[in-house]
């Protein structure tokens, strides 16, 4: 592994701003967050995957994967980040390294030519070049190629050095964000930076979730200047250093980036969430408070409160009709971070019972909050093996699983409703309106009559009963010569 990459990785692991890390002892902290992977029992994406997830939603950039086919071929066009502008980010570009390229050591040359070709064909705002395992192994100097290409072709060419084998998806998120800080942020200036310009980091605008929130910001006069990476343009990354406040949305992995923005350009940041009514309100409050601290007009606070009052009332009114339909339903939550803690209180408010929550990826603070909301620790668990979860659900110890796609089929195969609250979901659940959509989705799922049909025994199984609406059996009446019309 090249030296600079090693350094970057080490840096990513030593993360003072990471709340998990802060809670650790000095010694534990030095070991970093990486867990050793167990062959035959590992799950989850690699660092390259993480880098792609973080950056690929930047819409006007050509994302070029320097790799044999699998990395791009198996990995492109698989997420639902929405764009209001360029669709370039949805295209999959790769150098498709072949055996010949590798044997002949043609990797760097091919990359250089591919950069030229993609610039000529697409005129992108920039080219992001993703390093992967094989080029790293054969020692391609991607940074050097990018540098030469950028000079030669007059287009920014940014090396994203996160080959898969160096670590997890989470690490890849960090390495991707680090590349932005190193190569992009601060390279352009906005026309008219304003006192209410902000950065939003860690929202991917999945199915348009960002747009469930930006109308609220619009009404407050708050402008999203920089974004990583929902519906973001390259220029927005380049101008991030001029925002007044950074909000990190539901993502520990992006904290280092926010910290760098604070260190280098003095931009304060906070972590917040747009999932759930109270978290959305809290995020808006915090945002406005920080903006006022940084010079925005004082009345922003009052306007924010008015907006919150209005929107919360609207949302609660919209939620009311669903109470009777979801009340008493038992929810099993299985997802990382505070993404779903955010909705727990909202679900409880509607009379739903959260019977269990995973604490994977959760910080101590997260855990504390769960205890606070749920009363005790009994319902917290760390990882749950698929078979174990299947058994729990098959025994009907929960009415619905809310999780990411990975456990989808555990629930479905156990004949239990499943609501997607992760990155692959097809509905946006952010902000006040999103909360209503989420509850509507839960209602639609748990009250589908299909579940009862699926759980009923097959005709050949023990316990199969004659259906409630049995077909009428006409007794044979050979003696009664009913007078049927005889043509």
């Amino acid at each position: 592994m090249a030296e600079p990459l090693k350094q970057q990785i080490a840096e990513a692991f030593v993360e003072p701003a990471c709340e998990t890390n802060r809670a650790k002892s000095e010694a534990a902290r030095k070991k970093g967050c990486a867990k050793p992977l167990m062959p035959g029992a590992a799950a989850g994406g690699c660092a390259f995957d993480g880098a792609m997830i973080a950056l690929q939603p930047i819409v006007d950039v050509a994302h070029l994967v320097h790799a044999p086919l699998a990395c791009a071929g198996n990995g492109w066009d698989n997420r639902g980040s929405a764009s209001s502008g360029s669709q370039l980010y949805r295209k999959g570009f790769t150098t498709d390294l072949t055996e010949l390229d590798i044997v002949m050591g043609e990797g760097e040359k091919k990359l250089y030519r591919a950069i030229r070709e993609v610039i000529e064909a697409e005129h992108p705002a920039a080219v992001f070049v993703y390093a992967t395992c094989v080029p790293a192994l054969i020692g391609d100097d991607i940074a050097a190629v990018c540098k030469v290409a950028a000079m030669r072709f007059g287009t920014p060419v940014i090396p994203i050095n996160a080959p898969g084998y160096v670590g997890s998806k989470n690490l890849g998120n960090k390495l991707g964000a680090a590349a932005l800080i190193e190569h992009v942020v601060g390279t352009m200036e906005p026309e008219a930076p304003g006192p209410t310009d902000i950065n939003i980091i860690g929202d991917f605008n999945l199915s348009g979730e960002l747009w469930q929130v930006t109308p609220l910001l619009d009404r407050l006069g708050v402008r999203v200047l920089g974004s990583v990476s929902g519906d973001a343009r390259y220029r927005q990354i380049a101008m991030m250093h001029r925002a007044r406040v950074t909000m990190v949305v539901c993502s520990h992995a992006f904290l280092p980036m926010a910290r760098k923005l604070e260190e280098r350009w003095g931009i304060p940041y906070f972590e917040g969430s747009f999932y759930g009514i109270s978290d959305t309100s809290a995020a808006l409050r915090r945002l406005c408070a920080l903006l006022v601290e940084r010079g925005a007009p004082e009345d922003l606070l009052a306007r924010c409160e008015a907006l919150i009052a209005e929107e919360e009332a609207k949302a609660r009114a919209a939620l009311a009709p669903y109470r009777a339909r979801v009340e008493g339903k038992r929810v099993l939550l299985y997802t990382g971070g505070h993404k779903t803690w955010s909705v727990v209180s909202a679900l409880q408010e509607l009379g739903m019972e959260v019977v269990g929550t995973s604490t994977r990826k959760a910080t101590e603070e997260d855990k504390g909050r769960v205890v606070e909301i749920m009363g005790d620790e009994r319902h917290m668990f760390d990882n749950m093996a698929p078979r174990e979860m299947y058994t729990l659900l098959r025994e009907a110890r929960a009415d619905v699983l809310m999780s990411g796609g990975r456990s989808q089929f555990v629930a479905l195969k156990a004949r239990v409703p499943w609501v997607d609250v992760n990155q692959e979901k097809h509905e946006p659940y952010a902000g006040y309106v999103g909360m209503v959509d989420l509850v509507r989705a839960i209602d639609r799922s748990v009250n589908n009559p299909m579940w009862a049909a699926l759980r009923a025994p097959a005709p050949w199984e023990a316990g199969a009963v004659v259906a409630a609406v049995a077909p009428l059996v006409l007794a044979a009446v050979p003696s009664s010569k009913t007078d049927f019309e005889d043509c």
């Binding site: 929405a82 747009w211 109308p215 004949r415 049909a453 006409l474 044979a476 049927f484």
Partner: protein, 458 residues
């Protein structure tokens, strides 16, 4: 029980209904060596024939008694006799099924009586079975005409019962079943070692097959000898509420009957399979168990699309019960439904709050008002689908703007599975990418957009 709504209006806009005689003709075409004969003016037949040809994409041997100005006034007994004579000469049919039209029934002739007398007189017609069903266009629709034809066949061609033939089962197939549906359902019966007599069996005649010769009558269908044995079956399984009267006629001959309102949907097929297990005394074969396990999986995969789906449905009662029921069982809501005929109790069993006995005009208004998300009806619905931007799953009769309607199977575990895929994929085919407008959000300032530079020179 749905509330039946009879719209108070004189004008029907964009008919949903197809006429009863056409339904009778379709049923007759499920008999081997058959020619359906319309007793009416030439035009009735021509319209019906074009309709049938466009749907099945087959030459359809449909004939007419060609009533004219004079016979329309004086009665058409002679026309029938002449028609039978001509048909026997030209096409040697084994079976002629007569369906009356409005023209004849308006005068109220005793055609059935005249026909009986004539057939007694014309013993030379003995080689051809002739059946008559009263199917005036002004009463009911295709489903009713089909039912009347089946009843007429049973009345005329099934003698009183005799010793029971073990394993023989009558399968009365409703008009809402496609040839592929009929084949699937009959196949399920056979899978239990039972020998079904399917009446009518359009799976053998209207399935779309290329034969080695040209015939002026149906090729395939229920054999007359089989029909004659129906009184001796172990049981009658009737698919569709419209087949109930026919099932009752067979019950009167000593064959116990069960009526299945639908064989689409997991629970509905389960009920049918349970009956086959009872009748046969056998366990369900492995292939059927596998089909059920696959359907269950399909339900899991498709319920994301069907859950909460707002459906507009225009179909005859039995079809509406079958498809509507299957979708409601998957969490969909029938927000607008129009059916054709209140003669059948099935109309009230369509799973919706209100059922309009009306036309596609009613359905269009209802679908728009209720913000339906998908349309299920026959091909004539394509204009409203286009106008309301709804995906359109074609079902019922006629389907003329797609090919292979006769091969679409929505019955049994396998057919239900295909149907759920069809509906889910129709919805997936509509999905558009989210846009900021959808949320009332604005686009980022133009300032952020990248203006492509002129191509770099190198």
């Amino acid at each position: 029980m749905a509330k039946l709504i009879h719209p108070r209006r004189a004008l029907s806009t964009n008919p949903l209904k197809t006429s009863a005689p056409l339904g009778a003709a379709m049923a007759y075409l499920g008999i081997e060596g058959a020619i359906p004969l319309f007793h009416g003016a030439q035009g009735c037949t021509a319209f019906a024939m074009v309709h049938l040809v466009r749907h099945f994409r087959e030459a359809i041997p449909l004939q007419t008694t060609a009533m004219n100005e004079i016979s329309a006034i004086l009665g058409g007994g002679e026309q029938i006799e002449e028609a039978i004579e001509t048909l026997r000469k030209r096409a040697k049919p084994k079976f002629i099924g007569i369906a009356s039209t409005a023209l004849v029934e308006t005068r109220g002739e005793d055609v059935a009586g005249e026909l009986r007398e004539m057939l007694l007189r014309r013993s030379d017609f003995a080689g051809t079975a002739v059946v008559y069903a009263a199917t005036p266009d002004f009463t009911g629709g295709l489903e009713d005409g089909w039912a009347r034809a089946v009843e007429a066949i049973i009345a005329a061609l099934v003698p009183e019962g005799g010793p029971v033939l073990p394993g023989q089962v009558n399968l009365l197939a409703g008009s809402h079943l496609t040839p592929a549906d009929v084949e699937e359902v009959a196949g399920m019966v056979r899978a239990f070692g039972l020998a079904p007599i399917v009446l009518p069996d359009i799976s053998a005649s209207l399935d779309g097959h290329l034969s080695e010769d040209w015939a002026g009558h149906s090729l395939g269908g229920t054999g007359l000898a089989d029909i004659a044995r129906m009184g001796r079956s172990v049981a009658t399984l009737a698919i569709g509420e419209a087949m109930r009267p026919a099932a009752e006629m067979l019950a009167a001959k000593g064959v116990p009957a069960e009526v299945f309102g639908s064989v689409t949907g997991l629970a509905e097929v389960d009920r049918f399979v349970a009956a086959l297990m009872r009748l046969s005394g056998r366990e369900a074969p492995a292939v059927l168990r596998r089909d059920r396990a696959r359907l269950a999986d399909t339900m899991l995969d498709t319920h994301f699309q069907t859950g909460g789906l707002r459906v507009a449905l225009g179909a005859e009662p039995d079809l509406a019960v079958s498809l509507g029921g299957a979708l409601v069982g998957m969490g969909a809501e029938i927000v607008a439904v129009v059916t054709t005929s209140g003669l059948s109790p099935a109309a009230e069993r369509i799973p919706a709050a209100e059922v309009i006995l009306g036309d596609l005009g009613d359905l269009e208004r209802g679908a728009e008002a209720a913000r339906a998300q998908i349309l299920l009806t026959h091909s004539h619905g394509r204009m409203m689908a286009e106008k309301l931007h709804l995906p359109h799953v074609r079902c019922g009769f006629p389907v003329f703007d797609r090919i292979g309607a006769q091969d679409v199977c929505r019955a049994g575990y396998r057919g239900t599975r295909a149907f759920l895929y069809e509906v889910a994929n129709a919805m997936l085919g509509q999905l558009h990418r989210p846009r900021p407008e959808d949320f009332g959000a604005s686009r980022p300032p133009m300032e952020f957009d990248h203006a492509p530079p002129p191509p770099a020179s190198h």
